[in-house]
Amino acid sequence: MKKALYIILTFALVILAACSNDTTTKDTTNNNTKESKEVNLYTARHYDVDDELYAKFEAETGIKVNVIKGEADELLERIKREGDATQADLFLTADAGRLFRAKDEGLLQAVSSDVLDEQIPANFQDKDQMWYGLTKRARVMIYNKETVKPEELSTYEALTEDKWKGRILIRGSENVYNQSLLASFIEINGEENAKEWASGLVANFARDPEGGDRDQAKAIVAGIGDVAIMNTYYFGQMLNSEDPEEVKVAQKLGVFFPNQETTGTHVNVSGAGVVKTSKNKENAIKLLEFLSSPESQITFAEANYEYPVNKSVEPSELLKSWGEFKEQEIPLSTLGENNAKSILIFNEVGWK
C-alpha cells in the first residue's frame, strides 16, 4: 500500500514537471536561435493600450515582447534577486524615483541611441542615460469652482497658510506620488523647509488621508474640503469616466498649475531602463525607440491622459485646454535620491 502513496507523489511531481516544461521549452528554443527575436519586459505600467503597442511592435519588427506586469518595487526586488541570471531586458515603471532606485542598485545599464536623443528631451533622460522618460504627468491642484477662485491659489507652499485650515485634501503618504512631491521640495527648498511644509499641510488637512487620487476630487464636491492635490491624469480619467456621476463631479472642479511664478509645477514621468545583464539589449533599445516614437507617443500618453515626452507630439485636446505650464527644473533623479528622506519626514509630521 506504500505504492499508492508513491503513485500520488509521482503524479504530483509529473504535473509540476509538465507545467514547468510548458513554459520553459518556449524560452529555450528561442534562446537557441542566433539572432534573438524577443525582448523581456518587467513593467509596472499596465494599461490595455500597452499590450496593443507591444503587439504593433512585434508586427513591425518581428520581435516578441514577453511581459511580466507587477508592482514596481516588487519587480525591482525580483530583478535584484535573479541577479546576473535574470531574463529581464527592460524595466518600465511609472515614477522617476523608482527608476533612480533601479539605477542606484546597479540594475540598469547606460544605452545611447541617436533616435532616443532625438525623441526624448535631455531633461527627461537620466544624466547617465540609464533610463528614459516616456510619458509625463503633473501633480496639480484641483479646486471647487464654487468656493475657490483660481486667483486665491498660487503655490504649494501657500496651502499651508491659515486660510486653508480644514480645506486641503490629499491621499496617504504611502503613495509614491506624494513621496516624489515631497522629495522635489527637499531638493528645491531644503530639508527643513520641506518638513515645515509637510507639517503645515497636515495641519490644514480636511480629514485623515484615505482613498486614491480620484477620491480626493469626489471629497471636494461632497463638501469635505476645497482643494485637492492630485495627478492630472486621474482628473482626465474622471472627465471621461463611464460613470456619468463621476463626470458630473469632475465638471464642478477646476485645474490649477501651482508655482507658475516661482519654482514650477511638480512633474514626474513613467519611463524605462535597460537591465544591466540584458541578453537582448538591442531589442530593448528598439522597444524604447518605438515607445518614444511620434506614432506610439500619441497612444501611449493619451490612453492615460498623460503628456507625451516627445516634443514633436502634441498633447491631447483635453490637456491642451488646460494650457501650457512651467515645470519644476530639477533633475528627476533627485526624486529618487530624496525618497527615503521624505518617508522619514512624513512619519515625523504624522502624515498618515
Partner: protein
C-alpha cells in the same frame, strides 16, 4: 518490523514536506538576528505603536464578529428547519468568493459621493446628508469588510463539523431539559471550539497579511510598516525584521489556540454518525432565521455583486475580451494543481501528527502554517531567493539537458505553485486537521488491531471518513488561490495573466469599474466550486 518501517516512511514523508514548506520562512526568521539600523529605530520611535494598535483592533474585532456570525449561522443551519434553509446552507459560503480588496473598492464605490446611495438620496429625495455618515474608509469600515467577506471560514469549518457531529451529545442535552441557548453555549460551542477557533485563526492570519484593503482605506497597520520600510526606505532587511516580529506574534496566537483547544478530544463514540435531527421553526422565529441568513448573504454577496454587474454594463465592450478565456484557464489551472498538492500534503502531515505522539509532532505541523501570516510580497521574496539558489545549484544539470539558461524553475509555474502551497497550506491543513480530530483514532486502531497496515488503513478507513474535510479543504484553497494577489503578480512567468492579476491591475489604477469583468469571473468560478462542493456533500435527507 513491517509496522515500524511503515511508520517511518510516513514520518520521513511528513518531515520532508514540513521542511520544504518551512524553509522559505527561515529566510524571514533569520531576519530577527540582523542588527537594527536607524530605519528600524525611526519606525519604532514614530509609527510602530500606532500601527500595532490598529492591527490589534482590526484582528480582535474581526475575530469576535466572524465568530459570532459564523458559528451562529452554522448552528442555525445545523439545528433548525426553516424556509430557504437548504439554499442558505451553501449560499452563505458565497461571500468567500469575493476578494476582500475588490469588496473594499466596491463598497466604497457604493457609498461614496458618486455612489448609488448618495446619488439616489440627492436626486430622488433631495437629501444632501453629511458625507461623513457614508465614510467607510476607516477602522470600523475595514472591520466590516473583513468580517463580511471572511466569516465563511468560521461558518464552513464549523458547519461541516456540526452537521456530521454525532447527534447524541446534543440530544442528551435536550433530554436533560436544556433550552436552545443553553445547548448552544454549553454543548455546541465547547464541542465545536476546535473548528471555531480554527476558522477564526484563519481569519486573523488573513487580516494580518492583507495589504490591499488597509492601503486603499488609508489605515496604517503592521503591513504598512513592512512595506514602508521596504519600498519607501528601500531597506528590505528592516522589512524582513518586521515580518519576523509579526511571525513571532503569530506563533504566540497559535500556542494560545492550542491552549484553548485543551486536551479534550470529542470524537465519534458510536459507529453510526447520525446527522442532527433538525427542529422545525414556525412563524416569526422561522421568519427571523431566514431573514438573518438573507441579510448576511446580501451584505456579503448580493449587494457587491449587483454593483459589479452595474459597472460591467457601464464598461462593457471597452475592455478587450478575447484574452479572458485564457485568464480563466490559467486561473483554474494553477488553483487546481496547487489545491490538489496542498490537500495531499495536508493529509500526510496531519496523519503524521496523529501517528507520532509527543509535543514535537504536534508542534511541527503548526510551523508550516506560519506562511499564512506574512504579507504575500515578503513570502515572494523568500521564495524567489530559494528558487534562484535551487536553479544555480541545478545549472549543471540544465546544461546537460541543453537548456540555454541558468534560470529554469524560477521562470516557470513551479515557483508560483510552490509559493501558493507555502502560503495556503494553512487553509487546507486546518480543514484536514479538524477532520482528523473528528474521526479520532478509534477506527484506525480497530483496523490496525485486525492486522491491516498503516497505509492501507489510511486509504480504506481514514480517507473515506474524511471525505467532507478533504473536499472542503480543497474548495477553500481553490477559491483562495483564485483571489490571490501579491504572489501571482510577483512570481508569475512571462505573459501569464490570471483573473486576479487582471482585476488587481485595473483596481490599482483606480479603475474599479473596468475591474468588474475580471472580478465577476473570479466570483462566478468560486461560486461554481461552492455549488459543486455542496452537491457533493449535501446528502442529508430531505
Amino acid at each position: 518490523m513491517k509496522r515500524m518501517a511503515n511508520l517511518n516512511s510516513w514520518t520521513v514523508l511528513a518531515g520532508i514536506i514540513i521542511i520544504l514548506l518551512f524553509l522559505p520562512n527561515l529566510t524571514i526568521i533569520s531576519g530577527i538576528f540582523t542588527p537594527s539600523n536607524e530605519n528600524w529605530e525611526h519606525m519604532k520611535e514614530f509609527v510602530l505603536t500606532t500601527y500595532i494598535k490598529n492591527s490589534f483592533i482590526l484582528i480582535v474585532f474581526t475575530a469576535v464578529l466572524t465568530i459570532i456570525i459564523g458559528s451562529s449561522l452554522a448552528w442555525m443551519i445545523a439545528q433548525y428547519q426553516f424556509p430557504f434553509r437548504r439554499f442558505l446552507k451553501w449560499a452563505l459560503i458565497l461571500p468567500l468568493s469575493i476578494p476582500p480588496f475588490i469588496g473594499a473598492y466596491t463598497y466604497h464605490g457604493i457609498v461614496n459621493y458618486t455612489g448609488v446611495v448618495q446619488t439616489t438620496l440627492r436626486e430622488h429625495f433631495g437629501l444632501e446628508l453629511n458625507p461623513g455618515y457614508f465614510d467607510i474608509m476607516n477602522l470600523p469600515g475595514a472591520i466590516f469588510i473583513y468580517t463580511i467577506f471572511l466569516y465563511p471560514y468560521v461558518y464552513t469549518i464549523t458547519r461541516v463539523f456540526l452537521s456530521q457531529q454525532s447527534a447524541s451529545l446534543v440530544e442528551s442535552a435536550r433530554v436533560l431539559g436544556k433550552g436552545p441557548w443553553q445547548v448552544f453555549f454549553q454543548v455546541v460551542i465547547p464541542v465545536s471550539r476546535v473548528s471555531i477557533i480554527g476558522g477564526a485563526s484563519l481569519v486573523i492570519l488573513e487580516v494580518l497579511n492583507d495589504y490591499g484593503v488597509v492601503k486603499y482605506y488609508g489605515i496604517q497597520t503592521f503591513s504598512t510598516a513592512i512595506f514602508q520600510t521596504w519600498f519607501g526606505l528601500g531597506d528590505i532587511d528592516s522589512a524582513i525584521k518586521l515580518a519576523a516580529s509579526l511571525m513571532g506574534f503569530v506563533i504566540i496566537i497559535l500556542m494560545l489556540e492550542k491552549v484553548l483547544r485543551g486536551r479534550r478530544q470529542y470524537s465519534y463514540s458510536t459507529t453510526k454518525v447520525r446527522p442532527l435531527p433538525r427542529i422545525q421553526l414556525k412563524g416569526a422565529k422561522a421568519f427571523f432565521a431566514s431573514s438573518y441568513g438573507f441579510i448576511i448573504l446580501s451584505l456579503g454577496f448580493c449587494i457587491p455583486v449587483l454593483q459589479l454587474m452595474d459597472w460591467l454594463i457601464l464598461t462593457f465592450g471597452k475592455i478587450p475580451m478575447e484574452e479572458f478565456l485564457i485568464y480563466v484557464k490559467n486561473s483554474v489551472l494553477v488553483a487546481g494543481i496547487s489545491a490538489t498538492c496542498i490537500v495531499v500534503f495536508a493529509l500526510i502531515v496531519g496523519n503524521f501528527g496523529r501517528l507520532v505522539h509527543g509535543k514535537i509532532s504536534k508542534l511541527l505541523p503548526k510551523l508550516t502554517i506560519l506562511g499564512y501570516s506574512i504579507p504575500g510580497a515578503v513570502i515572494a521574496v523568500a521564495v524567489v531567493t530559494a528558487f534562484i539558489a535551487l536553479d544555480r545549484f541545478l545549472a549543471p544539470l540544465y546544461q546537460v539537458l541543453s537548456a540555454n539558461s541558468t534560470l529554469v524553475l524560477s521562470v516557470s509555474l513551479v515557483m508560483l505553485i510552490t509559493a501558493y502551497i507555502i502560503r495556503f497550506f494553512a487553509i487546507g491543513y486546518n480543514s484536514i486537521e479538524s477532520g482528523y480530530d473528528k474521526i479520532g483514532t478509534d477506527f484506525r486502531d480497530a483496523s490496525r488491531s485486525l492486522g491491516v497496515g498503516l497505509t492501507k488503513t489510511f486509504f480504506k478507513v481514514d480517507v473515506p471518513m474524511m471525505k467532507g474535510a478533504i473536499i472542503s479543504g480543497f474548495i477553500l484553497v481553490f477559491i483562495d488561490i483564485l483571489k490571490e494577489i501579491p504572489l501571482t503578480l510577483i512570481l508569475r512567468p512571462f505573459n501569464f495573466d490570471t483573473l486576479s492579476t487582471k482585476a488587481f491591475q485595473y483596481a490599482s489604477d483606480e479603475k474599479i469599474m473596468e475591474a468588474s469583468q475580471a472580478s465577476l469571473l473570479i466570483i462566478s468560478l468560486s461560486a461554481i466550486a461552492i455549488v459543486i462542493f455542496n452537491k457533493f456533500l449535501d446528502k442529508e435527507p430531505k
